[in-house]
């Protein structure tokens, strides 16, 4: 398979994730859609690693996985803290910082 197939699939997955971030209100689902976008980036990195025959892209993908895991841990910690404080779990209502 040519590398463009993988890259177009990666772009499609990224666009799906972006649509989810824009559409959904629950912070949990917004985090899931961020995962979709990070994984689309991973797919592009691995495809480029295959097409250039080097393994640097694999290391990059692993580091992206680590960053995604950290983001999940902190994000889910925030969601649990919000739930404990009876804050609304809706990203449109949590706009105290918007002024």
């Amino acid at each position: 398979m040519a590398v463009e197939w993988y890259l177009v699939l990666s772009a499609l997955l990224f666009a799906t994730g972006a649509a989810g971030v824009l559409l959904r209100r629950s912070p949990l689902v917004v985090l899931l859609c961020l995962e979709l976008m990070l994984n689309a980036g991973n797919l592009a990195l691995i495809a480029f690693a295959r097409s250039t025959g080097t393994q640097d892209g694999h290391i990059f993908a692993l580091v992206v996985m680590v960053v995604a895991a950290c983001e999940v841990v902190v994000g889910l910690g925030l969601i649990v803290a919000m739930f404990r404080r009876r804050l609304p779990l809706n990203v449109d209502e949590l706009r105290g910082l918007r002024g």
């Binding site: 398979m1 040519a2 590398v3 463009e4 197939w5 993988y6 890259l7 177009v8 699939l9 772009a11 997955l13 990224f14 666009a15 799906t16 972006a18 649509a19 989810g20 824009l22 559409l23 959904r24 209100r25 629950s26 949990l28 689902v29 899931l32 979709l36 991973n42 797919l43 691995i46 690693a49 295959r50 097409s51 250039t52 025959g53 393994q55 694999h58 290391i59 692993l62 580091v63 680590v66 995604a68 895991a69 950290c70 983001e71 999940v72 841990v73 889910l76 910690g77 969601i79 803290a81 404990r84 404080r85 009876r86 804050l87 609304p88 779990l89 809706n90 209502e93 949590l94 105290g96």
Partner: protein, 185 residues
């Protein structure tokens, strides 16, 4: 053969992604993301990234998704109201995503990627194996490896600080009246 695996994986990954966005219940969204991640691991296998595929299934579809399932079960179903802060957001968002996809596709297909050739170069034996990745990670990319470990440590401490219960004796965090009402003003 590779085409069959690619299209099966692509359909699985895309179906999982769309299900994550479309399903109303966050719990089902998490399960759809597991399908997406496993399909993506299959695609990584066709790209000879065996170690990344294994890490994807074990770390992502295993550990991270268990965390998501726990939080989704703890928080419970969140009903999303019909109220839209921006009029027509429900229609504008997919249009924006479609525009993003078209733009990315033009950028990808407009470059000279075809010059690389269809299959890519012949890869050495052991490409993408744990041995090769480990050697690379502990020699050329040692700084990135150490930075990743420090980042993981910071995230773990941060999660404990964020989600920890207050000690008994201090005021309980959940019963301050009017606290929830102040948000969103």
């Amino acid at each position: 053969m590779e085409e069959v695996v690619f299209f099966a994986g692509a359909i699985g990954a895309l179906g999982g992604a769309i299900a994550v966005v479309a399903l109303r219940n966050p719990f089902y969204s998490v399960l759809a993301l597991v399908v997406h991640l496993v399909a993506l691991a299959g695609l990584f296998l066709t790209l000879h990234a065996e170690f990344i595929a294994a890490a994807q299934v074990v770390v992502y579809a295993g550990a991270v998704m268990v965390l998501y399932v726990f939080v989704a079960a703890y928080v419970g179903g969140v009903e999303e109201p019909e109220w839209e802060p921006i009029t027509g957001q429900r229609f504008l968002a997919p249009i924006l995503a479609a525009a993003l996809f078209v733009e990315l596709s033009i950028a990808i297909l407009g470059t000279g990627l075809k010059a690389i050739g269809d299959e890519g170069p012949t890869i050495p034996f052991g490409f993408g194996s744990p041995e090769a990745i480990g050697t690379l990670m502990l020699e050329r990319f040692l700084i990135a490896f150490e930075a990743a470990s420090i980042l993981l440590l910071i995230a773990a401490v941060g999660a404990v600080v964020l989600a920890a219960r207050k000690l008994p004796g201090t005021s309980p965090d959940a019963h301050t009246p009017g606290e929830a009402g102040e948000v969103g003003g």
